[in-house]
Amino acid sequence: MDPTQAQAEDQFERQYFSYVLDRVVPANAVQDPNQLQILSDADFEWWWTLLSRTSNLLKVLMREQATGRDFIGTTASAVAGTATFNGMQVDLWAGTALATAAFPLAVPYIMPATRVYSLLFSDTSGAPNTVEVVFSGFKLWPRPKG
């Protein structure tokens, strides 16, 4: 079956849902680890990323634990003036809904139930940085057959 047709006959009920990570990143933290686990009741379809923070002097890395997949990376063979890659600046990744700056994924990503995602924050503001990351999307409930 053509995938486009298959998806038109998708077998899921979608329930609007958000996974939220709140963290006060310590001042000058380097790759401060935080984990977010998808609940065991349903897979999650990630559509939007939203983020608020105290200071924009904050970087983020994101990794999927089961596969080791890095969502944010660089393989730049020459990166001028930066010693260690600690991720991308959070303001490039996502903004707030208030500012109409939620970042839309072109193709939503399925986060399987129980899978763990790591977010590593690096702060250069020199003060505790209060950050909230929201993964907004849908819980996928298999539609009863019949």
């Binding site: 995938p3 897979d43 559509w47 596969t67 997949r69 991308m88 959070v90 903004g95 500012a99 072109a106």
Partner: protein, 192 residues
């Protein structure tokens, strides 16, 4: 009915860009590929990826970086930021190194490439109306950046795209390790 007037949209608020976009869900209005029931056609089994290129450049200095791209990197959006933008921040040029293609006839200033998402203003990412696919094996994107400021400038360019998952032999097959998505009907068994 005689005497009735046809319904008019003359005084209805409309997004001026609406004619360019599908009429259905909001998500669909962001990308043509953002279809109602994902995954989306040729992007089946792709995963989101943000390739990030940071620079710290001295006054009026130029530098370049090559980024090795994962399989089938499909560029969808660009974001940039700079610590100083008094004289425009920076000028940048991007190349598909494998195909020897450039993305502009000359370098473009930061403000005309893209902004950032956060910071309180409207999201400033530049979304490509049609994705650009780096489909050749071992593709690289070359980023050449010139600092336009008379002070040190911390610059970052991020490319958002979709990549074919590195642990998946072909679209539709199970990824490994990690197993299939628990209830996804199209990735179970031997694939579709």
């Amino acid at each position: 009915m005689p005497g009735s007037k046809a319904y008019s949209l003359a005084y209805t608020l409309r997004n001026p860009l609406a004619r360019m976009l599908p009429l259905q869900r909001e998500q669909m209005q962001v990308y043509r590929l953002g279809e109602k029931h994902p995954p989306s056609g040729s992007m089946l089994d792709h995963a989101p990826m943000w390739e990030t290129v940071p620079f710290v450049l001295g006054p009026l200095k130029t530098s370049q970086a090559r980024v090795n791209l994962q399989r089938n990197f499909t560029l969808l959006a660009i974001m940039t930021t700079a610590s100083s933008v008094v004289a425009g921040g920076f000028r940048a040029q991007f190349y598909d190194k494998k195909k020897d293609l450039r993305f502009a006839d000359r370098g473009v200033q930061k403000a005309n490439i893209a902004g950032s998402m956060g910071g309180g203003g409207f999201g400033g990412a530049f979304f490509l109306r049609e994705p650009y696919v780096f489909d050749l094996p071992d593709s690289q994107i070359l980023v050449v950046v010139q600092n336009l400021e008379s002070v040190n400038n911390t610059i970052e360019v991020a490319f958002y795209g979709q990549v074919l998952r590195f642990n998946q032999p072909h679209p539709g097959a199970n990824e490994f390790p990690g197993g299939p998505v628990t209830s996804w009907p199209f990735t179970g068994g031997t694939g579709q």
